[in-house]
């Protein structure tokens, strides 16, 4: 299996505070990698370093084979990102949003036209294509945001709590989209609070106080902590946490 994310002792300090402490892990191509942890555990900080939004204080990492310090521009072309906040433009229509994101990723007009047609079709949003995004229900917006994040067919897509505030049915549909993307060879790196979602991941890592305390498949983790559900594993690990918000 190809390694698409490789980190060694990746650390981020803000003054005396160590947000992420010597994180070392690998993520393989095409897998769905769950990144779990309580609030304030350092998930977002770690993810921001991997996306190039934040420079690490020390340690090394390669994303899609590119160095996190020197080749950020190449990394940017190979990753997609969907943030915690809904982040499309509400005053633009569905098609205009797709056009814009396609444009800044350097897709040609022809590619954009083709892809937006496909995307609207698969999401079942044909009737809404010319509606303002602000007028769509939250679940639709999230699905749209995800589809836009992988519009340029990145190697890896980073999802920062993508299903916050979304109802269970839509969450299920959202995960269908994630499986589809993974099936197409896109590596999915996802942070979440929902333990049922953790079960959907191929492998998960648990962050506690800025460190990775566990990393394995859900089944093996449950076995290791003799737990019935991921919930229990989470409590077991997070109980010792000193930091919380």
């Amino acid at each position: 299996m190809d390694t698409v994310i490789h980190t060694v002792n990746l650390t981020k300090r803000f003054g005396d505070f160590i947000a992420a402490n010597e994180i070392t892990f690998d993520v393989y191509q095409g897998e769905i990698f769950g990144f779990l942890g309580a609030n304030g555990a350092g998930k977002t900080t770690a993810m921001r370093m991997l996306c190039g939004l934040s420079t690490p204080s020390s340690g090394t990492a390669t994303i899609a084979g590119f160095d996190i310090y020197k080749e950020t521009e190449k990394i940017k072309k190979n990753i997609g990102y969907m943030s915690q906040k809904f982040s499309l433009y509400e005053d633009l229509t569905v098609l205009e949003n797709i056009r814009f994101i396609g444009g800044i990723y350097g897709l040609s007009d022809k590619q954009i036209k083709e892809k937006s047609g496909q995307l609207v079709e698969t999401l079942g949003m044909k009737g809404e294509a010319k509606k303002m995004v602000g007028a769509l229900p939250l679940g639709w917006k999230q699905k749209l945001a995800f589809s836009v994040a992988i519009l340029h067919e990145p190697k890896i897509v980073f999802l920062d709590e993508p299903t916050g505030g979304v109802d269970p049915v839509t969450r299920r549909q959202f995960w269908d989209l994630i499986y589809e993307a993974a099936g197409n060879g896109i590596t999915v790196f996802v942070t979440t609070h929902y333990m049922d979602e953790a079960e959907y991941c191929n492998r998960i890592s648990m962050m506690v106080d800025g460190e990775i305390k566990a990393l394995d498949t859900p089944a093996k983790l449950k076995q290791q902590y003799s737990a019935i559900s991921m919930d229990e594993v989470f409590y077991e690990l997070a109980r010792g946490a000193k930091r919380s918000e």
Partner: protein
């Protein structure tokens, strides 16, 4: 290049979709020009006055006739006694009372010395000064007429020429002022809000994660406002030429060139504000309180800088609008060329460069 044009198109969409902002953007200059042009003017016309004439002789009647004939005054009432004056000020809208003592003509002709009393409402000092000035002027005119009849041996004729603005039009003063304020408002406020908005709704992260050059984000944000400001400038100039009758005496091209420089100065200020704030409200507040208010105070078109204490005059030097105001007045009113304004232009250019460098540095720091 395809992606920057996509970005600029998107910015224009934001502007055009936001009706309220658009209305403000184009309504504001029109309203301001018309307000300043017709409502807020320093010229005083038809000031209501009362006359208290104890003399009732030839001289007093002639002067009253002149007052009545002038455009500045309108005689509302002729009073019989001094005691009525205060009441007239209190219940009427009169601005001035003029009192001729008994034997006015006699004193004037035979004692060579006569007195007239002007009483003005100084609760508004500027108006009081202006209209007493008008009245004095009329009295002097009358006196000069008499002199010519009598031919005194020594005379000083003061001949006044108001150059650059012979008709004393207020427009000459305020059009350049309004131009500086509007351009400043549009560029600083709109740009800072536009960028901070992206941070607030979370799209800035998406942009920073994308391969799109962050520096180009800023350029794309600035381009629509540069274009809109140039349109605004054109609207203001058309209004002032065709509605207010204020000519552009100098080179229009030079005016546009310098205005573009000023717009860029203002845009960089807007960027600086957006780089230092995290919410639209904060950006708006800083733009309005931190930029607009000092600009109104220190540009020199509302409050003369020469009358300010020296430390405040020093403060005015760092206000870009002040230099732009001087430049616009030189070009539009005096019809001067580049040789007359190069110093001010250089100052603006320097300010812009400093702002841009600070911006680029700040933006880089923010990314890490």
């Amino acid at each position: 290049m395809n992606n920057i044009s996509t970005f600029i198109k998107k910015e224009f969409l934001h502007v055009f979709r936001d009706r309220k902002t658009l209305l403000m953007l184009f309504g504001l200059p029109i309203v301001q020009i018309i307000l300043f042009g017709f409502a807020l003017t320093n010229e005083i016309k038809n000031a209501k006055i009362v006359v208290c004439d104890y003399a009732k002789d030839a001289a007093s009647q002639q002067i009253i006739g002149k007052l009545q004939a002038s455009q500045q005054f309108e005689i509302q009432n002729v009073l019989l006694s001094h005691n009525q004056i205060e009441a007239a000020f209190k219940n009427g809208e009169i601005k001035m009372a003029i009192v001729f003592p008994a034997n006015f003509n006699n004193d004037l002709l035979h004692q060579n010395k006569a007195q007239v009393q002007l009483i003005t409402d100084a609760s508004d000092p500027n108006t009081a000064t202006t209209i007493s000035g008008y009245a004095t002027q009329i009295l002097m005119d009358y006196q000069n007429e008499l002199m010519q009849l009598q031919n005194l041996p020594y005379q000083i004729h003061t001949e006044m020429r108001m150059i650059y603005n012979p008709e004393l039009k207020a427009a000459v003063n305020f059009v350049p002022g309004v131009m500086s304020l509007i351009l400043l408002l549009v560029c600083v406020l709109m740009t800072s809000v536009a960028i901070v908005k992206e941070k607030e709704i979370g799209t800035m992260e998406i942009l920073l994660v994308s391969p799109f050059n962050p520096f180009l984000v800023i350029v794309s944000k600035a381009v629509p406002y540069l274009a809109l400001s140039l349109i605004n400038l054109t609207v203001i100039l058309l209004l002032s030429v065709f509605v207010l009758g204020m000519p552009i005496n100098g080179s229009v091209l030079l005016l546009y060139a310098v205005s573009t420089l000023f717009i860029i100065t203002a845009l960089s200020l807007g960027l600086l504000i957006s780089n230092s704030t995290a919410s639209q409200q904060a950006a708006m507040l800083i733009s309005l309180m931190g930029m607009l208010v000092p600009s109104i105070l220190f540009t020199g078109f509302m409050f003369p800088l020469e009358n300010m204490p020296y430390p405040l005059q020093l403060v005015s030097h760092i206000i870009p609008a002040k230099w732009y105001y001087i430049i616009v007045k030189s070009i539009m009113v005096k019809g001067l060329g580049f040789s007359a304004i190069w110093k001010e232009t250089l100052i603006l250019l320097g300010m812009t460069l400093v702002l841009l460098v600070v911006n680029i540095k700040k933006f880089k720091i923010r990314l890490t």
